[in-house]
């Protein structure tokens, strides 16, 4: 510690605040901000990848694949986020453990479900009981990223299929006239031009993703909402060096500012991106932004 925080009750206001804001508990709080940013940084590209994949499935000429793509998009979009979160994370975790149980412990004879208990052999536990709490937390976090990516991937898939439709028909016809085959038309004409049509939808989705990050809290991941609530709660002198009243208002105000800043920054970046993507497309980025 840079400051001398050995007896906080003797310190003046400024030093007290500095000491308070740099104690171990607050460091964990700052670290949880990083968690949110990492979630965004990973979930967004994975969602886009998955969205493209789903859009291509839904556009396929082979009808079972087409149906499958449409079905996945429909199911994920139709189910409330929270219900999906609750169900999917538990189902994924237990599903993985079940598969590992069957492959790793073939001699196990007892049933997996005994009353309310879900039991798999020691080796099948994911992560294993002996791994540290950090690994358990990382595992939970990975499950969360997968869940976020699937939900937002399905929405992105819908946006992409719309964007592919929006590419002017004349362009496709011209490409055909030049003798391009369907594959070439898709990759060189439709795929390249759809981004600008997808962008308004995608930027909207990104904003919703930012707002949805506190759902981590529901998954038992100690994110910024958890720590804001924990730190803001009134503290009695017996259990802390820094007793204070109910400060939840201030901590939640901080969350508000954090999320607003993130939104504002995103808006700026997305505006730039729009300008870049519309470059040389017959209509300028400026016009496109105004048209929206």
């Amino acid at each position: 510690m840079i400051f001398d925080c050995s007896s906080p009750d003797q310190l003046d206001r400024l030093m007290w605040s500095l000491c308070y804001l740099s104690n171990g508990k607050h460091i964990t709080f700052y670290y949880s901000i990083l968690k949110v940013l990492v979630l965004l940084a990973l979930a967004a590209p994975i969602s886009i990848g998955l969205g493209l994949f789903l859009a291509m499935l839904a556009k396929s000429d082979i009808s079972p694949i087409k149906l499958l793509g449409k079905f996945i998009i429909l199911i994920v979009r139709g189910i409330p986020d929270i219900a999906w979160f609750m169900f999917f994370v538990i189902a994924l975790d237990q599903g993985l453990e079940w598969v590992r149980h069957i492959t790793l412990c073939p001699d196990w004879t007892e049933p997996i479900r005994q009353g309310a208990d879900f039991l798999v052999c020691e080796k099948a536990k994911l992560p294993s009981n002996s791994s540290s709490e950090t690994i358990h937390e990382i595992y939970g976090f990975i499950l969360a990223i997968i869940t976020f990516s699937i939900i937002f991937g399905a929405f992105a898939g819908n946006i992409f299929s719309g964007a592919l439709e929006a590419v002017p028909k004349d362009q496709i016809e011209t490409a055909e006239a030049y003798g391009l085959n369907p594959r070439q038309i898709f990759w060189r004409i439709s795929f390249k031009q759809m981004w600008i049509y997808a962008l308004p939808g995608l930027s909207n989705l990104w904003m919703i993703l930012i707002k949805a990050t506190p759902l981590l809290f529901l998954l038992g991941i100690e994110d910024i909402v958890y720590w804001a609530r924990e730190l803001g709660g009134a503290k009695t002198p017996r259990f802390t060096e820094y007793p204070h009243g109910d400060w939840r208002l201030w901590y939640f105000l901080f969350l508000l500012i954090f999320y607003l800043t993130l939104t504002k920054l995103s808006e700026k970046v997305l505006d730039k991106l729009t300008r870049k993507l519309t470059y040389g497309m017959g209509f300028s980025g400026e016009n496109f932004l105004q048209r929206q």
Partner: protein, 240 residues
């Protein structure tokens, strides 16, 4: 960061299981001083953390602590996310249907009302934590119950005037009343609920239950449990 990416395949493929030993994961809430709470350094602390570590040492188990919200503390035990609950949980017949309990490590403790003034009407609005004995008691007492996810919020509800009084564990309330400089006070009669505080364990985990029962018995016999209880809850606590 590289380590994390390296660990993903390791976790999924199961090489991490090489050291499967006697590691027991202990679930607690971390929001219920003096039973369990998070200290200034961000680590778990409290009576049950000291007790749990001692019990694990006596039972020759390696223990790892896990924080979990009170709301989902039982579901996560039965689905195997951790192996015990040690979170100031009272033994009740209702909980005993879903999970098992060790013998108690605290005798039944009184619950009490705390309000912002002496003349408050206890048949009015009372706050309590969700899925607790106290919430169940208030629901049946005829008062209006408002529930909160954390114990901390039940107190704030009284300070804000949202509730007339809070009904909770006496031991949780005492340090708060003491620190409030007279703003909060005990009112009404105390009520003793439950069969004491014990560790929650999966019904199928009889072996683990036996180990902890034995460790608790040994702590009761050599007086170390009594010493610990007095240290954390004061001289007034009922000892074994």
């Amino acid at each position: 960061m590289r380590n994390i990416f390296f660990m993903i395949p390791v976790i999924l493929l199961g090489y991490s299981t090489a050291f499967a030993g006697d590691t027991i994961r202990m679930g607690t809430e971390g929001a219920y001083p003096p039973y369990n709470y998070i200290d200034d350094d961000g680590n778990l602390a409290g009576f049950e953390i000291i007790l749990g570590n001692e019990l694990c040492a006596r039972a020759n188990l390696t223990c790892e602590w896990v924080k979990n919200d009170w709301d989902s503390i039982i579901p996560n035990l039965v689905s195997g996310n951790y192996d015990t609950i040690i979170a100031g949980m009272s033994i009740t017949a209702e909980r005993d249907k879903v999970i098992d309990f060790t013998q108690n490590y605290m005798l039944p403790r009184p619950s009490a009302y705390v309000a912002a003034s002496e003349d408050v009407d206890l048949s009015g609005v009372i706050s309590a934590q969700t899925a607790t004995l106290q919430a169940g008691y208030i629901a049946e007492s005829g008062s209006t119950l408002i529930e909160f996810a954390t114990p901390d919020e039940t107190i704030s509800a009284v300070s804000d005037g949202e509730a007339d009084a809070v009904f909770a564990d006496y031991d949780y309330l005492a340090p708060i009343v003491e620190a409030s400089n007279g703003d909060l006070m005990f009112v009404g009669d105390q009520v003793v609920l439950g069969l004491g505080t014990g560790m929650g364990i999966r019904e199928s985990d009889t072996e683990l239950k036996a180990k902890f029962n034995q460790a608790i018995t040994s702590m009761k016999e050599d007086g170390s449990l009594n010493k610990l209880l007095i240290e954390w809850f004061g001289e007034g606590i009922l000892t074994y």
